[in-house]
Amino acid sequence: MLEIRNLTKIYDDGTRALNNVSFSVEDGDFLVVIGLSGSGKSTLLRCINRLINPTEGEILWNGVDLAKLEGEDLRNTRRKIGMIFQHFNLVKRSSVMNNVLSGRLGYTPSWKSVLGQFSAKDKQKAWDSLERLNIKDQALKRADELSGGQQQRVGIARALMQEPEMILADEPVASLDPVLAHSILQYLEKLNQEDDMTIICSLHYLDLVQRYATKVIGLKDGEIVYQGSRKDIRAMTDREFKDIYGEEAVRVGGLEGDLSAGGDQS
């Protein structure tokens, strides 16, 4: 169980990216965060695994306040939280295999990893992850030789290497076309349902939100303006949608799995 209490982040330039945000996520939830660009979605996700240090507030995960962790404790907690990114953030010139193995760094002693030594068990685990994501045959290629959808699957495989209990996904499909978006989210759904991982994912496409989310929060200017269950999101009104996405927003689709109609973000 993850519980965010009064989380606030003010950047050095004075921007208030998050303002007194509170919500909770049950284990096994597929939480989707929606909101315009700049509404604070990325900041929120990065505060959870402390890539960004929050200014105020508590991040209670299984009773531990992540906001107060430092050094070794922080790194050990990060191991349990996988993260995937909009731009995949793979090391482009390294092989797919090395990218996936790097997910194991938190469990590997420094001197071994500096020499590039991973245990046979880790290597086997990497092969298994790649197989699970159907890209085993690409393992020895350079990461930048792969297509966007394949690169994002490598990103997921890297996160899986951490044996995570929770996955943070920062707009994982924003750089992909709708069909690929669907397939990536299905992998996340599988992890959510089969492996019981908690997923916190930011998305733009309302159609995808309605299809995959079990719980939704909407951010606007760093504040929560919407909270709803799966049921609520399917019954979302135009007013609520406009509160989050602004007056100009046009509601598109709403049909489950009808992806060609989706994608209007403006």
């Binding site: 990060r78 953030n89 090391v91 390294s94 790097s102 760094l105 938190g106 951490q162």
Partner: protein, 504 residues
């Protein structure tokens, strides 16, 4: 864009400050002034700078063509006699001036169209000036191209100098007493089966005055190797040798089939200090045959070239190695993304960048001259010169590749729970290694080429050899060096391109 254009047009439509005629007169006095007052100051400034520069250069060319003359008329007359192209230049500059006046009139009268004509005239004036200043002479290039034939042929095909055969000298001597005394040298006995040279008489006088003839000697030789060339040479009393000249020509001829010859020579013209002529001295005349023995072997020049070529490659290599070691720390100081955190580090960044740019703008040849003064002639000076330049060049290239690293992977690796060193090794190093390797190989390639050039000024390596042979007009030897440089550079160029392509 279009909005801006419109406002600019509108600005031009404003009426001129002066009437067209006045504008023309003003431009006649000070080219460009008329245009400036017609509210087109930019055009006016261009006209002024263009005209005053070309006029100034023209005056300078006249003066340098007729340096010793004074007075306007004299200088003009003398200069156009020496350099007829100056007439054309004068006409072109006057045309430019008239055009400027006309342009001022038109600019004041109505908003001008694009100034194509006037810039064309300006271009022609400057091209002509360049032709004259650069002493372009295409006729000379074509008619005298044959002068280079010998040098080019020797450089293109120098291989006769690359091999040599060991030689033996056959050089029997005869002694001549100068001047004759009461007891001249006795004739030696003719040895059996050995080469010999006999002079008759065995004493005589040198030609002391220009044009005077010395004593005539009859030289008889025998037992030489038949058919081979023989050369008559001398040793003076100090054992300094010189080749005999008979009426200005070297005495060189083949001996007959019995290996003997007989020639008449007159004793050479030599200035002898008065003290030396007080008593009789012993001069030696000898007939020399050079006989090649044994098989072909590499010449001294070829060996030197190979030796210095290896030295050159290592100069380039060492300079690159030192360059890498010193450029690495510098590059981190010159990377904006690492140094923009605080005003202090930013100041260091600007300082380092400025120093790198300054150092890089000074050619390695200049650095080599400086280091030759410090450490003396030789490869070390060359290594130092190239190192300095490499640090500056690599420092810039490295720092640019550090600046361009993607922060995404760093974030991703941190998110896996990796510590600092793991993040650097897995997210930073893989991103900077390939460009670093690429730039380093590229630099090595440059350094090998440049090490030839720093050798010209004493920085060791093959360039040092090359410049000496060129100065001696020994084009065959220079040709060997040129060939080796060309082939080595081509091979290394190919290798480095290949490595970069595979690696990056």
């Amino acid at each position: 864009m279009s909005k801006k254009e419109i406002t600019k047009r509108e600005g031009e439509i404003k009426p001129s400050l002066v009437p067209p005629i006045l504008s023309a007169i003003l431009s006649a006095i000070l080219p460009g002034l008329g245009q400036a007052l017609a509210r087109d100051w930019r055009r006016g400034l261009t006209m002024f700078l263009g005209f005053s520069t070309s006029f100034g250069l023209l005056v300078w060319r006249f003066q340098s063509a007729a340096r010793r003359d004074v007075g306007f008329i004299d200088i003009f007359k003398k200069a156009i006699r020496i350099e007829p192209i100056l007439i054309w230049l004068t006409i072109a500059t006057i045309a430019f001036w008239i055009w400027t006046i006309a342009d001022a009139y038109l600019t004041a009268k109505r908003p001008p169209k694009k100034a194509v004509g006037i810039f064309l005239v300006m271009g022609i004036v400057f091209a002509s000036l360049g032709w004259q200043i650069g002493q372009v002479d295409l006729v000379k290039l074509i008619t005298e191209i044959n002068d280079a034939e010998r040098a080019v042929n020797h450089v293109m095909w120098p291989w006769s100098r690359a091999v040599t055969r060991p030689v033996e000298y056959v050089e029997p001597e005869a002694y001549i007493q100068v001047p004759c005394t009461d007891t001249p040298f006795a004739q030696p006995e003719v040895p059996e089966g050995e080469p010999y040279l006999i002079s008759d008489p065995t004493c005589g006088d040198l030609a002391v005055l220009e044009g005077e003839r010395g004593t005539e000697l009859t030289l008889t030789g025998g037992n030489f190797i038949p058919g081979e060339q023989v050369t008559i040479k001398w040793y003076d009393p100090l054992k300094v040798s010189f080749t005999h000249r008979q009426d200005g020509e070297f005495m060189q001829f083949p001996v007959d089939e019995n290996g003997s010859f007989e020639v008449k020579i007159t004793m050479p013209y030599r200035l002898v200090p008065p003290s030396a002529s007080e008593e009789a001295q012993k001069w030696t005349v000898f007939a020399q045959q050079v006989i090649a023995t044994g098989s072909l072997e590499p010449s001294e020049e070829l060996k030197l070239v190979v030796e210095k070529m290896i030295e050159t490659i290592f100069i380039g290599m060492m300079a690159t190695a030192f360059g890498i070691i010193l450029a690495l720390p510098v590059s981190f100081l010159a990377a904006r993304n690492l140094m923009s955190a605080s005003p202090v580090t930013l100041a260091i960044y600007y300082l380092v960048r400025t120093i790198l740019n300054l150092v890089r703008s000074i050619e390695p040849v200049i650095w080599a001259i400086i280091f030759v003064i410090i450490v003396g002639l030789g490869p070390f000076a060359g290594i130092l010169a190239l190192t300095i330049h490499s640090i500056a060049a690599l420092g810039k290239l490295y720092s640019e590749s550090i600046e361009s690293i993607d922060s995404g992977p760093i974030e991703a690796i941190q998110a896996t729970g990796a510590n600092w060193i793991q993040t650097v090794m897995f997210a930073v190093v893989p991103q900077i290694i390939p460009p670093f390797v690429s730039f380093t190989i590229y630099r090595w390639d440059i350094n090998i080429r440049m090490s030839t050039v720093v050798g010209l000024v004493g920085g060791g390596g093959i360039g040092y050899l090359l410049i000496q042979w060129i100065n001696k007009t020994d084009f065959r030897a220079a040709g060997i060096a040129v060939w080796f440089i060309a082939v080595t550079v081509a091979i290394l160029d190919y290798i480095s391109a290949e490595i970069r392509e595979r690696y990056v």
